[in-house]
Amino acid sequence: MAEVTMPKMGFDMQEGTIVRWLKKVGDEVKKGEPIAEIETDKVTIEIESFSSGTLTQIVADEGAVVAVGAPIAILDGGDGAAAPAPSDGGAAATGDTQQAQTAQQVEQKAGTQAGAAPEQFTGEGGEGSTGAAQQTEAAAQDSGSAAATSAEPANGRADGGHVPASPVAKRLARENNVDIAQVSGSGPGGRIVRKDVEAFVQGGGAKTAPQPAAQPAAQPAAQQPAAQPQPAAQPAAQPAAQPQPAAQQPQAEQRPGTRREPMSRLRQTIARRMAQSKGPVPHFYVTTEIDMGAAMALRKQLNASGGDVKITVNDMIVKASAIAIGKYPALNASFAEDSLDYHDYVNVSIAVATDNGLLAPAVTDVDKKSLGTISAEAKELIERTRNGKATPDELGRGTFSVSNLGMYPVDSFVAIINPPQAMILAVGAVNEQPVVRNGEITIGQIMKVTISIDHRVSDGAVGAQYLAELKRLLENPMLILL
């Protein structure tokens, strides 16, 4: 008994169509005799029988499309030739279309089952299965690793937007737990390059705590609350101050006794904004002492005269600072790349300590409003800010800032400018101190004020003049009431 199979008539032939049987059931067939006509996608040709015998069965009728290697007829007896290899498609060495098909299927399946275990292929011919399984594994590995790469979080991209940075810069940022978005880039198009990250790290720039990858980034800069720094650890007051010792390299592992807490989004933002300010903004500082005696007395008077509003020292400082700035519009301006935005309104940001960090809502048109109005508005704003209810507009509309630590035993401190503003006042406590007046030593109510000014916007002389004006106003407080 011999099986006649669809022959492979071309190296890329996969199937053929029976066009016409040249023999019918019962006919004698001689080895080498044409037995049928088949059609491939190229031609119609006769196929021959490789054994002799009687045609006992036609398996594929005329018109049938049969895959290469599949049976089309049965021959009986005759030359006793052994039955050919089972019609499993044969284990061809090379160019076996079935194997190629198998391999293709395997690859497709592996592609859609990323990471799935390789499929078992049996019975497709010895070589086919080995090759196919290996291909599956390789494909699964490839798609697995591809998945790993794509799932990799963009560490160091705090705000979710695209930060152009070179691969080595990103890696260094990652390794040093630096939020790459805080680093300003010196490369073409603002690209952050290696030396920018290195400089940032050495400058003791704010570091992110390691974040779980899923944490969303903080909001984009435009909606940032105007963050104020905690001044306690600031470096020396001169503009030419040395950077912090590089001892603040974050450690990859924690020492025992250390508790690591993820930063709140607010704190992350504050952290980033601090760095954004201190990094590129060239600060300079001017300090003066102001005798607050008269101002304190006036305040006492105002609050004692009845009415709901209780004026605070800070209210008076805020008002005075807004009036003084009228003569120095540059200090009420914002720095914008290669231009200055001069504002014809004066909104004063007031630093507010909240549970989560420093926020600075701004009272608008302070130069035009009465002290009472300012006081009331400030109070209300501060209250809402503490409750987390201040709007982004309120938090972002200031033209300069006042930060008062006078409620603490702080003589003076230096504050970081809140970009894009050009100036910030740092106000210390009012202390009783011996002073010299008219050649005599007496007791004065001395308050130290330090202004930080963006040196790109203005210079020392203007700063000094402004401070002089502020001092004049506060030491002659009736002027504030005008």
Binding site: K8, F50, P84, G89, G90
Partner: protein, 337 residues
């Protein structure tokens, strides 16, 4: 059977044993090739398969004129030359099946059979290119002061490309010991000779180089042997190369997938009635060199050998993966990172 002087002359000096051996080779080539066709249709052989069916007399006659130390380099229709040279059919079929036991470890396939131990330097698949390499081999033989001859096979189609002319020029210029055997089977793949070449008697192309040449009936193994012997002696003696044209006919298509639109079945049938294998067999029997039983025995043995090679190939392991990357260079040097 005794050899009389007439007999010797009749058979170009070949003894009965040699004649029988020639028939045996022709029979084996025929059966082997038919087996290959069957195996190809069963998808056990892949790619391109160029069968020598009908041309057996050429290979057997020409290769029979060579000494073991002579060299053979041939084209992609190389099964006949390989078997005529005495290569064992087992590794040949295994090579076609892509097995580790193949003559080239499964790396070459049908078109690149090889056995350097028998000075069989391979089949080549780029028409005409290996003629230049034959000249290179002959250059080496001459520089090494050896007496060997290089026999290079090609078809009528190869005589139109630049390589043919470069090779004949190089060979004649250097009086290289090359025998250029053109197997003119009247078709270059599917193009009849009248359509592809200006001078259809290929041996005449040698005159452009003042090269000795001859034309012989490639279907007569004895005549072919005789002519080849003349050519080989000419080359070996230092007189220079010879172009030997053997006119023959191939019964099957150019390759296994050839649908043979370029000739009619009647044409092929006409030639099949004069099947050289049949003709030679008949002659040997009628002239008493072979008995019918002996002939049948030879046929059966050939069948067994061919089937045996299929079994051998079937049972052999597939090509070893390690050759995939390590077999490229004799001295592999890894790129560094």
């Amino acid at each position: 059977m005794a050899t009389t002087p007439e007999t010797t002359q009749q058979y170009a000096g070949l003894s009965p044993e040699q004649l029988i051996e020639m028939y045996r080779q022709m029979a084996l080539i025929r059966v082997f090739e038919e087996k290959c066709q069957e195996m190809y249709t069963r998808a056990k052989i892949g790619g391109f398969l160029h069968l020598y069916v009908g041309q057996e007399a050429v290979a057997v006659g020409t290769v029979g004129a060579l000494k073991p130390e002579d060299h053979i380099i041939t084209h992609y229709r190389d099964h006949g030359h390989a078997i005529a040279r005495g290569l064992d059919v087992n590794p040949l079929m295994a090579e076609l099946f892509g097995r580790d036991t193949g003559s080239a470890r499964g790396l070459g396939g049908s078109m690149h059979l090889v056995d350097v131990s028998k000075n069989f330097w391979g089949g080549y698949a780029i028409v005409g290119s290996h003629l230049l390499m034959a000249c290179g081999m002959a250059t080496a033989v001459k520089l090494q002061k050896k007496q060997e001859v290089v026999m290079v096979f090609f078809g009528d189609g190869a005589t139109n490309g630049g390589e043919f002319y470069e090779a004949l020029n190089f060979a004649q210029l250097g009086k290289l010991p090359v025998v250029f055997v053109c197997e003119n089977n009247l078709f270059a793949m599917g193009t009849p000779i009248a359509v592809h070449t200006a001078v259809q008697e290929i041996y005449r192309k040698a005159c452009a180089f003042d090269m000795t040449s001859e034309r012989v009936d490639g279907n007569d193994p004895i005549a072919t042997y005789e002519a080849a012997k003349r050519a080989v002696e000419h080359a070996r003696s230092g007189q220079g190369p010879v172009l030997l044209e053997a006119v023959t006919y191939r019964f099957r298509g150019h390759s296994a997938q050839d649908t043979q639109k370029y000739r009619t079945k009647e044409d092929v049938e006409k030639y099949r009635t004069k099947d050289p294998n049949e003709v030679f067999r008949k002659r040997l029997i009628s002239e008493g060199i072979l008995s019918e039983e002996q002939a049948a025995q030879i046929d059966q043995q050939a069948e067994q050998e061919a089937q045996g090679s299929v079994d051998f190939a079937d049972q052999s392991p597939e090509a070893d993966e390690k050759w995939l990357t390590t077999g490229i260079y004799a001295n592999p040097i890894e790129p560094k990172y």
